[in-house]
């Protein structure tokens, strides 16, 4: 057996692959791209022993298509990529959302746009994860900050995708994906693993898009006697095309409500540092680790700083961020881009709290000095 036992020095990408396997993933389709390829490599080596299948597709468009297909055939499925590949996946991401297909897309972010400063770290796909596919839609995205958290958030990503019947994105970055840290994989039997709800009616009475009380339709698999008609065209509860405007309205509303009505179930944050502070940092992923360091450095200078770390990014934790804005002197949003999530912070800023950006776009982990400079600016 090659499943790592005990405390291991492990790369974030490997931890992601093991999290997926422990969550029950049995199908991976991907296309090589740095800095995510190790996820594919671990899957190619390990999945067969679990009865799973790995396939290297001809591009990222085909990769996300294949995982959507395999999920509809009943297999927990995922893919991994970085910015350019994530861009190629956007159209079919919408297909997965619209057809309500549980699957996980791992984006190990690197500097863009285009080929960019390949393959250095960035967090600049945050808004692409939210709005990259065309049309109105909801999305769930998680952002790990350590190798151990990469493992657990990958499991959580699968659980959320099965619970809500929707694609879930892991917004990693090159730092987390390719950093080696100590990690201990738990006993798999100790994990809470969520499976999609199967139909509880007879095949004759089954409509593949008739929702349960949570707005999520019980899900049969291809090959079951419960016939599944999955369409990227506007469809009613039968799954077949339906071009009535009220059908479109009802479907879009349900797809939004099934996630946004349960935002509190999805949202995950960490509060770090003193309860009350002159400046509150808001950050996520690799940047948030630098923020933790900065909280300590600021304290040495006699500045009281705390951190609100977003572990889940989408849906945006409006209420928690609004509360944080209301009880601090100023906010510094630290992210490795030119300012993406800061727009969401400003959107929920009911108290007109001053908000500053600490922007790291140097193709490296954000420099603590950038964050300290923003804190000093906020205190002027």
């Amino acid at each position: 057996m090659s499943r790592p036992e005990g405390i291991q020095l492990m790369e974030g990408n490997h931890a992601c692959a093991w999290g997926a396997i422990d969550a029950g993933a049995r199908f991976f389709a991907g296309y090589p791209i740095t800095p995510s390829s190790e996820i594919a490599e671990v899957c190619a080596r390990e999945l067969p022993a679990y009865g799973g299948i790995f396939i290297q597709m001809e591009d990222e468009i085909g990769s996300i298509a294949a995982i959507i297909g395999a999920s509809l055939s009943g297999k927990k499925s995922f893919t991994a990529t970085s910015g350019p590949g994530f861009s190629l996946m956007q159209e079919n991401l919408g297909v997965g959302i619209y057809q309500e297909v549980p699957c996980v897309i791992v984006d190990i972010q690197r500097v863009g746009p285009a080929t960019g400063l390949a393959t250095q770290p960035a967090q600049a796909d945050v808004m692409q994860a939210r709005w990259g596919t065309h049309g109105d839609h909801s999305i769930i995205a998680l952002s790990p900050a350590t190798v151990q958290e990469m493992y657990y958030l990958t499991i959580r990503a699968f659980n959320l995708s099965e619970r809500f019947r929707t694609p879930v994105i892991i917004l990693g970055d090159q730092v987390i994906g390719q950093t080696y840290e100590n990690i201990k994989l738990p006993d798999p039997s100790s994990l809470d693993i969520i499976e999609r709800i199967k139909p509880f009616v007879s095949p004759e009475d089954y409509f593949p898009y008739q929702p349960d009380k949570n707005g999520v339709p019980p899900m049969a698999a291809y090959g079951d006697r419960h016939i599944v008609h999955a369409s990227s065209t506007c469809h009613d509860e039968t799954g077949y095309s339906n071009f009535k405007t009220q059908t479109n309205r009802a479907l879009l509303t349900r797809l939004k409500d099934k996630i946004y009505n349960y935002t509190d179930e999805i949202v995950d944050v960490e509060h770090f540092g003193p309860d009350h502070a002159e400046v509150t940092l808001i950050s996520y992923g690799a940047s948030s680790r630098v923020c933790k360091y900065v909280v300590g450095e600021a304290e040495k200078e006699g500045i009281r700083v705390n951190l609100l770390r977003l572990i889940s990014i989408w849906p945006f934790p409006d209420r928690i961020v609004r509360e944080a804005l209301g009880k601090t002197g100023a906010v510094v949003v630290a992210e490795m881009n030119q300012g993406q999530l800061i727009g969401e912070v400003n959107r929920v800023n009911a108290t007109n709290t001053p908000v500053y950006l600490a922007s790291g776009i140097d193709g490296a982990l954000i420099d603590p000095d950038i964050i300290m400079a923003a804190i000093r600016e906020a205190l002027k």
Binding site: A49, G69, A221
Partner: protein
């Protein structure tokens, strides 16, 4: 598990009338598919129809089997995941010429190369019908379309030659006119392990046909007969005449091992020699 069901147990009769134009051959192809499934006694729940986007991409709405209707050009990529997710399924990808060979050309090449056990049925009407009759990768050189008013400046694809070169196990060409042959080829394709492809030359009376084929819809259907010749007949033609015709028949029928058979043989539960390293 075999069943004995008429073709209407696969075909969604209550969705009639078909959305396709009068004189289009898509309904004929759909009838042949459902009859082949019936003849082969394949239960509807063991079939997944994967469609692309375009006129022929609407075919899933007339099927009672499992179905998938995804994005333009990707029916084979979705189908690859569907098949690997449950290898017991019969996966049938329905694509038009533009869908399969332009936007989906890369997936087509690699599905054939892998020799994955999927049956592709391409309805080739030589243009993009759904979007108003623009030229496609199979539109013959110099034909008139809405985006080639002076004639297409590109030669068309030979999808059968492409399929053979890439590695498909079964390749056949027929037309919507040759209904008996059509059903026979689809049946053979469904029975074939590995990638199988049936190209069905089809009419588009509304667009390509109206611009390029003289006469009414009936004469367009007869035109399919006039421009095709059997393999045996083709060999007897003078070299100069050969390029005037499309060859119909079973053009490839071979037994290369399919993707999943090879993968399973190579990965019988994990390659032990490679494992336990790299952590």
């Amino acid at each position: 598990m075999a069943v004995n069901l008429g073709y209407k147990e696969y075909f969604k009769s209550d969705a009639l009338p078909l959305m396709w134009c009068a004189g289009c051959g898509n309904g004929i192809i759909l009838r042949a598919i459902t009859e082949a499934l019936s003849d082969l006694h394949i239960p509807p729940h063991q079939v997944v129809i994967s469609t692309g986007i375009g006129c022929w991409g609407k075919a899933d709405d007339y099927m009672k089997t499992h179905a998938f209707h995804g994005s333009h050009g990707r029916a084979l990529a979705f189908g690859t995941g569907i098949k690997l997710g449950n290898p017991d399924l019969h996966v049938i990808a329905l694509m038009g010429d533009g869908d399969a060979l332009a936007i989906g050309g890369n997936h087509f090449i690699h599905a054939a190369r892998r020799n994955i056990d999927i049956t592709a049925i391409i309805s080739n009407n030589f243009n993009y019908g759904m979007t108003g009759g623009q030229y496609s990768p199979t539109t013959p050189l110099s034909s008139s379309t809405t985006t080639s008013p002076a004639g297409v400046a590109e030669p068309g694809f030979d999808v059968c030659a492409l399929s053979e070169t890439c590695g498909a196990n079964y390749v056949a060409r027929t037309t919507a006119y040759h209904v008996t042959q059509l059903k026979r080829f689809i049946t053979a394709a469904l029975l074939k392990q590995g990638f199988s492809m049936v190209e069905v030359i089809n009419t588009c009376p509304t667009h390509f046909g109206r611009r390029n084929i003289p006469g009414d819809t009936v004469s367009m259907m007869k035109y399919l007969k006039d421009i095709t010749v059997s393999k045996a007949g083709y060999e007897k033609l003078d070299e100069a005449d050969k390029e005037k015709y499309l060859v119909t028949g079973e053009l490839v029928n071979r037994e290369r091992p399919d993707y999943l058979s090879v993968y399973r043989e190579m990965n019988p539960g994990g390659p032990e020699t490679d494992r336990g390293e790299g952590h």
